[in-house]
């Protein structure tokens, strides 16, 4: 099946530092979604990107979709302890197959 690679697997930052997670596919994507899962919780939808080169912002979070629609990134500016959790991308391929990445687990040291 078509896989989506997400890196890094873990990221530990000091509060106030920035954080970025990347999602990469070998094939063109129809769209990509990002979810956040707090420790012990369930995934919660953050955003969906559809257009080539699309950039969306939610307060300190910036989401990008690559020009070739094969990769995406989530960047958090000035992390806070409330940002702790695992961030997943969910990539939809052109054959309607949707796959979740393995996630990036973010820990923030106060």
């Amino acid at each position: 099946g078509q896989q989506v690679m997400q890196i890094p697997q873990y990221q530990h930052v000091q509060e106030g530092e920035d954080f970025t997670t990347y999602c990469n596919s070998s094939t063109t994507l129809s769209n990509i979604q990002w979810y956040k899962q707090r420790p012990g919780g369930h995934p919660v939808f953050l955003i969906q990107l559809v257009k080539s080169g699309e950039v969306k912002k939610q307060k300190r979070l910036t989401f990008q979709f690559g020009e070739a629609k094969k990769n995406s990134s989530l960047h958090i500016t000035a992390t806070q302890t409330t940002d702790v959790g695992t961030y997943f991308c969910a990539a939809r391929h052109n054959n309607n197959d949707m796959r979740f990445g393995a996630g990036t687990r973010l820990t923030v040291k106060p």
């Binding site: 369930h42 969910a90 939809r92």
Partner: protein, 114 residues
Amino acid sequence: NAGVTQTPKFRILKIGQSMTLQCTQDMNHNYMYWYRQDPGMGLKLIYYSVGAGITDKGEVPNGYNVSRSTTEDFPLRLELAAPSQTSVYFCASSSRQGGYNEQFFGPGTRLTVL
């Protein structure tokens, strides 16, 4: 709205036992999904349904069965539990096919098979 509810929250099974994980949504969503999440891993799709009476296999369907007799309910059945099925199971729903619309997840069922 309660959203997506799942029962039980926790369960311990012995090898070979059977059980049904319940999932109900009150958002009138056509699409429903079952995922499993192994420790430190992402979500893998087990089965999904595009509407009442219609189900289809996902990425890892072996050892599971589903049914969708109503729009609201989408139970997942484990017939002969195996240790490899130890995982956290999430049910989700969406108003359109998952890749085109956000999925709403239930709180999960933590299953241990010993």
